[in-house]
Homo-oligomer: 237 residues x 2
């Protein structure tokens, strides 16, 4: 078996340092020469690690000045009420969304099952990109029964907010039944959107949101950039 490249372990070590807030956002990392000394390697090897982290958007360097922490991993609470806008704002970051596609089509088998629909029933599909402080955090796909929310897509394109769109459809509140989490590797398209290297770790969550009567109203899948997000369970859930 091939052993892990030194530059990769250095990258994870530094990533860990940043995640554990040993370096804060905006802080300058030690100079490359110092890091090379600390890890006992050549400066090139440190540079390879920093390049990887820069590709992931974790740091950025300024010639003559130093290497700076671009972003600390965002905390994203998972619980009964999952609201993107709230989650990001509460962490002191600025949330934003980009619509990739919206369409209305027949539900696939798994989608229909999740929403309690019959196979072939129509659904609204909302593909998008979530950002925090301008940096892409996650790709998501939200699926709604179109029977129940006929004119929903227009509101969604206006406000980009699931909560707002559902509210206009008469849903005052909704809660998350269950969230399922697995780890995957980024495909080429995912990597492109999230601006991470291909094959980088991805947190995939799937969840079903229900209205007050326990009726499923949204089947959502989200692919988080693993380096930039920490999902949290409990605490304030």
């Amino acid at each position: 078996m091939a052993r892990t490249p030194v530059w990769k372990s250095i990258a994870t070590a530094l990533t860990e340092d940043i995640a554990q807030a040993r370096y804060d956002t905006g802080d300058k990392l030690p100079a490359e020469a110092q890091l090379a000394a600390r890890f006992g390697v050549n400066r090139h090897t440190v540079r390879r690690a920093l390049a990887e982290m820069a590709a992931g958007g974790l740091v950025h360097s300024r010639r003559g000045a130093g290497v700076f922490v671009a972003a600390r991993p965002t905390d994203y609470p998972i619980g009964k009420r999952v609201r993107f806008h709230q989650n990001i704002s509460k962490g002191g970051q600025t949330p934003a969304k980009q619509i990739l596609t919206t369409e209305t089509r027949a539900a696939a088998e798994g989608e229909a099952a999740a929403l309690g629909l019959a196979a072939g029933d129509m659904v609204h599909v909302y593909d998008g990109l979530s950002l925090a402080d301008g940096q892409p955090i996650a790709l998501f796909q939200s699926i709604f029964p179109s029977d129940r929310f006929p004119g929903m897509l227009e509101t969604l394109e206006e406000t980009q907010s699931v909560t707002a769109a559902l509210k206009r459809c008469g849903i005052e509140d909704y809660t998350r039944l269950e969230t399922r989490i697995t780890a995957r590797q980024a495909t080429a398209t995912q990597a492109l959107h999230l601006r991470i290297p291909e094959g980088a770790p991805i947190l995939r969550t799937t969840g079903i949101n229900v209205d007050g009567n326990g009726q499923p109203i949204e089947y959502g899948r989200t692919w988080f950039a693993g380096d930039r997000v920490t999902l949290t369970v409990g605490g304030d859930a």
Copy 2:
């Protein structure tokens, strides 16, 4: 109503076979030609069924080798009470643990902070491997304040159970404060223990367990093989 396609019934028949453990994980299914004979259909029809199952992740095929039963992802509930033995048994699988190392040493900075200790206080460290149905699913490290649980390591080595060891130390119940989840890539050593390719996606969770008075008693980190585990939040949490 159109009657179900033949390929679909074949897919469900084979899925049933796998669910009833007639074929175990990792087993090779009979060759497509043999399956075609068994079901009395053309090989193309069998292939359509296998394609559906492969899309669902149930099997995967290797050209020239055969079609193999993919490991069924283990559901692992994350919530207030996280118990490895319970979690695995409830899913109908057989839990097991392997001790890798146990030691008592001074706490690192982050560990001390998590447990509410002073820097340099002594802690018990328990490194191990968790298995379900004989297949490794996670590496873990549990850290306990040694002041409070002096003779804990012996019990731990006997029973391999955190819950049992804590019980013998007078802790009847404990709950999880918060769980933090990120995605990483497997290092060489992790890959070796978990028997996954290096760089494969890993789910890393960190959590703090507290006693009835909210006093931290365990700081635990776990690295799940992302392909083999689905963390679930809510539902029965």
